[in-house]
Structure formats: C-alpha cells, structure tokens
C-alpha cells in the first residue's frame, strides 16, 4: 500500500519533495537529507538521470530511501530504457516494496552530460502508464501473465504554464486514460495562471500537485528563465531576490508564500530545489 495514495484519497494537503541521486557511490549525504525530510513530507521523489545528467539509478536510490522508512516516488523515464528494461525495473521496484512511480517521457540526452547518447524513447509517458496498469493487472505489455502482479501507484507530470494549452490538456487526458492517478507539475510561480489552468482540468477530478522551486538568488532565477524549458519566474519575484538583504532567506519566504496560496487551489505541492534539499524543511516550518 502507498501512504501517498491514502493521503490523496483522504484529501489531505500532500507534500512531496524532490531529491536527486548522487553521481557516485558515496550516499551518506543523500541518506542524511532523506532523514532531514523524514516525517515532514509524505513522500520523496527520486529523479531518473534528471536533465539527462548521469547519476545513480533512481530504482536503487528509491530503495535506499525506502530503507530509511520514507516512501519514495520512483521516477522512471523512457529515455534510457526500452520496453523490456522498463518492465523488468518496474517489477523489480514492486518486489522491493516501492509503490509510487512517476512515469515520465524524459529530457532528451542533448540537454545532459552525455549528449552523444542514443535516445531510446521506445515507449512514452502515456504508454509507460499503460504498461504499469497492465503489470498491476498481472500481465506484461504483450499480455503474457506474470507470476505475481505489481502493486504500483502511478503518477505523471504536467507542464501547466505553456502555450498552446489544448495539446497539453489532451496529453493529460491520455495519461489519465492510461492509468495516471495523480500529477506533479513543473515549477509554478504565477498563482493566477495556475488557478486558471486548474479550472480547465476540473473535469478530470484528479489530484494535481503544483511544483514549487526554491530560489536562492536573482542570478539563479534569471539563469533558470533562460535555460530551463517551461520555467517562467516573474520579474516581481526576481526584483524581490535582487533587493533582499538575504536572498537565500527571501527565496524560502517566497516558497512559503506560494505554498500558502496554492493550498486554496490544489491538493498538495511538490517541492524542488537545485541541490539545497535541506532548505525544504525550513520552508515547511513556515506554512
């Protein structure tokens, strides 16, 4: 069973945080961060070679999280594995006791630290979700029976602040059909725009957890605006970071405010940082 699933069902305000596996075998800091976040969040998302930068396997890192008594959301992308590898990893995850999976298409290798790598994309987010639904029913993608079904709670990702929006909503509809039970989004900074997006998704009756990205300087914000697809930090927030005596504290303040407002329009939040996961607990103390 998944605590995340129960919390969403019980209409709790659900908080997830995002943590990247390390690039290397030393995991002591990773484990320390997991324990800092323990009991403060419902689950911790473990990224899968995020931005196509090679790191430890998200399956193994998810298991390290589980071993600390924290529920992982195992992120799995279609970039690096074909349908055989995806299915065997999912069965392995289920056997290890991992319950939550975030099914993602994945960033293109050109964004990362091995741009010459072969992009796989044998499946995509929608067909990966279909695969999980089948594995949960006791069959593989081609309908062959499994000795023991998986018991996975699948979620998917959303980019709420983009144009044109209709193809994004159609993609969301496909993911729900394929079995997605919740959504986590790219970072949201404009509450009104997000509220308007949410009003367009009401028909689906599915939990959407907007992303919160911790900012720590105006420079970082400008950098994110310039280089990360889908991120749009408004000038007013950049100005606040620019003029603040302590931009790092101001960033935590901004995140706290955003979460406070998002409580009105969503069923939870998904908190992301760029390598400053320990600040997440400071943010959570403020809400």
């Amino acid at each position: 069973m998944s605590k995340l699933s129960d919390a969403l069902k019980n209409k709790e305000f659900v908080i997830t945080a995002e943590l990247s596996p390390r690039k290397g075998t030393i995991v002591s800091n990773f484990i320390k961060t997991v324990n800092v976040l323990k009991d403060k969040v419902h689950a911790i998302n473990i990224t899968d070679n995020q931005r196509a930068v090679m790191r430890m396997s998200s399956l193994v890192a998810s298991y390290l999280v589980l071993r600390e008594g924290v529920e992982p959301v195992y992120q799995l992308t279609c970039r690096d594995r074909n349908r055989l590898a995806l299915q065997s990893d999912l069965i392995g995850a289920a056997a290890l006791g991992i319950r939550n999976v975030l099914a993602l298409t994945g960033d293109h290798p050109s964004a990362g630290d091995a741009p010459e790598a072969k992009p796989v994309f044998d499946l995509d987010a929608a067909t990966l979700l279909q695969t999980i639904t089948k594995l949960n029913a006791g069959f593989d993608l081609n309908g062959h029976p499994l000795k023991g079904a998986t018991d996975l709670f699948p979620g998917a990702a959303l980019t709420p602040q983009t144009e044109p929006l209709e193809p994004v909503l159609l993609a969301m509809e496909r993911k729900i059909q394929a079995g997605a039970k919740f959504f986590q989004t790219q970072p949201v900074f404009d509450i009104d725009a997000f509220a308007s997006f949410m009003s367009k998704t009401q028909q689906f009756r599915i939990p959407v957890m907007p992303g919160i990205l911790l900012l720590h300087s105006a420079e970082q914000a400008l950098n994110l605006n310039a280089h990360v697809p889908g991120i749009k930090i408004p000038d007013s927030l950049i100005k606040r970071l620019e003029t603040a005596a302590d931009p790092h504290r101001e960033g935590i303040e901004i995140a706290g405010e955003l979460i406070g407002k998002l409580r009105q329009v969503s069923q939870g939040v998904h908190i992301m940082t760029v390598g400053q996961e320990k600040d997440i607990s400071t943010v959570l103390e403020r809400i």
Partner: protein, 219 residues
C-alpha cells in the same frame, strides 16, 4: 532522396592510408543532388588525392550507385578502376555497399549518410522520413513525429514543449504542435486524446525485400 554530407577530409585520407592509386565513384542521383558526389566533387577529390601524395586513377559517376548489377557492369568495363588499389565512393551507405558487393577491391566511404530527405528547393533538404517500416502518417495529419520529433514520440507533445517550440532546439517548432494545429484546422484535434500504441520494430528486421506485384485482389 538520401541526403549525404562530406566526411572530414582527414578521416577519408586516414581510411586510405594503405592505398596509393585511388579510383573515385560518384553518384548521379542523390549524392549529385546533395552536391557531395557529382562531377564537381569527383574533380575536387582528384586534386586532393594528388595534393596528398596519392595517384588518382580517374572517376565515373553511375546514374545510380546503389545498383549492384549496374556497378558490376561499369567496373568490368573500366580499366582505370581495375588498375586502382582502392575505390573512393562518394555515395550513400547503400551506394558504398553496392560497390562493395560488385567488386573485391577495398572500398573507402567519402560521405556520411544523413537521412531520407524531402527537397524544399534545390540544395535544401528536410529530414522527413526515417524508413521505419510502419508508417503512421495517416493518423498524424501527414506530419511524421517518428522522424521530426527528436524523441520520435507517438504521443506528444512532451513536457519539453515551450510556447510551441521544441526543448532540443528552441528555434524549431514542436512537431506535435504542428500536428495539433493541422488537425485543429480541420476540427479533428480531439483524436489526440486517443493513445497511439507503441511502435512495432518487428518490420525493420527484414534484410531483403523482393518486388511484389500489386493486383486488385492481392493487396
């Protein structure tokens, strides 16, 4: 047509370091149109071979170099080709292999084969088809996502689409937005709510296709 690009000269010269007398084979079809294997390019290589201490035995440009029987017959008739140590082929991979199948002589590839291109205007080619063996164009408004989406997605757009553009190249329109817009102009965009099945790669295993006669019944 098959779009080709020149390999770096250094790489080609390295591949022929064991050979002195080189005969050049261009291609009168695709490589000529790509301006990589026509008359001019063959002549440039004749000069370059000489500049690099090699002997140029000559060249010919078959109408289509990807034709084993044609190549066999042309090579049989060419004393210059017969006298050479190796053949430099300015054609696509299919052309290089046709030459390789037509003769025992060592073969050096002068070009990189890039894609099956659509000619926009002379000398300008668009990467539109991947020869994937199971065409989806009827359900994607005549626009190929397998080729034109850098991820080859059958259910797009992905989260990397920003304001209609592609995450891989911000100057490139997202092909799934193009498909959406084309469908929308016909008020058919709702078909995108249907999930396209994962692609079968079973069809691309064939090593040989023999011509099949079309008949009214036999399709």
């Amino acid at each position: 047509m098959i779009v080709t690009d020149n390999k770096p000269k250094k790489e080609v010269l390295e591949a022929m370091q064991d050979y002195h007398k080189i005969f050049i084979i261009g291609c009168g079809s695709c490589a000529a149109a790509s301006r990589t294997g026509g008359e001019d390019e063959c002549r440039i290589w004749v000069d370059d071979l000489k500049k690099n201490g090699k002997e140029a035995a000559g060249y010919f440009i078959p109408e289509e170099t990807c034709h084993v029987f044609l190549l066999k017959s042309m090579l049989r008739q060419s004393g210059a080709a017969a006298s050479s140590d190796a053949l430099l082929v300015l054609a696509c991979g299919a052309g290089v292999q046709a030459v390789s199948a037509a003769t025992d002589k060592p073969v050096v590839a002068g070009l990189n084969s890039m894609f099956l291109g659509t000619t926009y205007r002379a000398g300008e080619f668009l990467k539109y088809c991947s020869l994937c063996g199971s065409c989806v164009l009827s359900s994607t408004a005549g626009i190929c996502p397998v080729t034109r989406c850098p991820k080859g997605l059958l259910n797009g757009p992905c989260g990397g689409m920003v304001n209609g553009m592609c995450e891989v190249d911000a100057s490139m329109k997202c092909v799934w937005v193009e498909i959406y817009e084309r469908l929308k102009s016909r008020n058919k965009q709702k078909i995108l709510a249907t999930i396209n099945k994962p692609k079968s790669f079973g069809n691309v295993r064939h090593q040989k296709v023999e011509p099949k006669k079309l008949s009214k019944e036999g399709r």
